[in-house]
Amino acid sequence: MIRDIGQYFIFLRQVFINRETFITYYKLVLEECVSIGIGSLFLVALVSTFMGAVTTVQTAFNMVSSFIPDYVISQVVREMIVLELAPTIIAVIYAGKVGSSMASGLGTMRITEQIDALEVMGINSISYLVLPKIIASLMMYPMLVIIAGVCGILGGYLAGTLTGIVSPNDFVYGLRSSYNEFTITFALIKSFVFAFLVASISSYKGYNTKGGALEVGISSTQAVTTSVIAVLIADYLLAQLLLAQ
């Protein structure tokens, strides 16, 4: 475990030293962006819309007191979606979709000697393969989180108004009342951290695959598990660091 963490940091160092030329990375990053961003867009939108809808219905269900005005529902939904559900739950999904495909992609390259082929040409394969994934992840994941936030609130609005739980006016009023800008900043800070963790951990697991097709599957599963654990720990630490009074 400790050894693994140490090796992970050595791996990270390799990502950032002895880089190839800028122009080499430019194209690679764009390719990764397309596969990460466009590839996950539908799933993220779908999940966050339903998450918003369910959150709204359940929040309403729990507010039994008639002293609490309806607009509080959308206020709660907003805070939950923006602060926690969009950055963190989507990170779990992101690890499952993007992290596992990064790990299996690199694992396959490893066992079919494509990584050796790069090394033989004198290319720093870690940096060449992994840096574009990390950069693309840092660029795309925050955007996915923003989209998830919008879809989540939209899902909440639809569920709330269509079922008559809360009137459109109340919902919008709630969204706008006692709004604190820092929640958005905080959500974005979390997104960057999670994006880095998922991309780097999954790449690390994939790159260090040994064996055959079976091991590629194992690396890919481990990539998801480890990234999710890292995301949850980071989530807690960030909340302590940035939100504790």
Partner: protein, 249 residues
């Protein structure tokens, strides 16, 4: 010319390569032969620097690879081409992009120059009209040929082939062997071929090194291989029925 000295490599407490030394000359393929699992691939990877040996040195025309700084290592690396066992083509790139790849990252050629060179190399290995095919769409033999084209595209001084014939039918094997032989002669480069295929040995085996359980037991040419007097080599050579029928002739 490549010279290796005392290459030794173990994994854990398992000694895989045991003090192997030797010289590989230019112009004709140098074969490293031996049964599966005797350490041929590990030896080859130690020579090209993919696996650092525990002890030993490798000299590329006098340049000590493991004793060099990073820049010299990269310089040497850029002079070598390698054909991997499964071809190791980049599966996200089509045939043309695969072959062009070393030129993209290692040279400053213009696109037109690169295109011309790629087409020349693909022609050299007998492949035409496959430029836009993906690796998953071509046969094993074609993958090997694309692998060779990619290995020679940047005019290497050293060519390494790990089991160029594995998984190929006998006819294609001969084509690939002859291709490797021709390229080594035409370009006058140092070529090292790892194989366990007796057909290759009898076909292109002008310089052969026999490895048994990590040790070099014999060196010679195909003309002497049937009467080496080394028992392990006899077992290897005559495991083949055709060869066995020639035994004692």
């Amino acid at each position: 010319m490549i010279k290796i000295e005392n290459i030794t490599k173990s994994f854990g407490d398992k000694l895989v390569i045991n003090h192997i030394s030797g010289v590989f000359e230019k112009g004709k393929p140098n074969l490293i032969i031996g049964a599966s699992g005797t350490g041929k691939s590990v030896l080859l990877k130690s020579i090209v620097g993919l696996m650092k040996p525990d002890i030993g040195e490798v000299f590329y025309d006098g340049r000590n690879f493991y004793g060099s700084d990073r820049d010299t290592k990269i310089e040497i690396r850029r002079e070598l081409g390698m054909l991997f066992q499964g071809g190791a083509l980049f599966d996200s790139k089509n045939v043309e992009k695969n072959v062009m790849f070393p030129l993209d990252v290692l040279t400053k050629m213009s696109l037109a120059e690169k295109q011309e060179r790629v087409n020349f190399c693909l022609q050299r290995v007998g492949l035409e009209n496959v430029n836009s095919k993906m690796p998953s769409e071509i046969s094993g033999g074609m993958k090997k040929r694309v692998g060779i084209a990619r290995a020679i595209v940047n005019t290497p001084n050293y060519l390494f082939c790990d089991e160029p014939n594995s998984g190929l039918d006998p006819q294609t094997s001969i084509v690939i062997d002859d291709l490797i032989q021709d390229i080594s002669e035409d370009l006058d480069i140092t070529t090292i071929v790892v194989t366990h295929d007796m057909n290759s040995v009898m076909g292109i085996g002008e310089r052969i090194m026999f490895i048994y359980k990590g040790e070099k037991l014999w060196e010679g040419t195909k003309n002497d291989i049937t009467h080496s007097g080394v028992k392990e080599l006899d077992d290897f050579v005559f495991a083949n029925k055709v060869m066995n029928s020639l035994r004692g002739t």
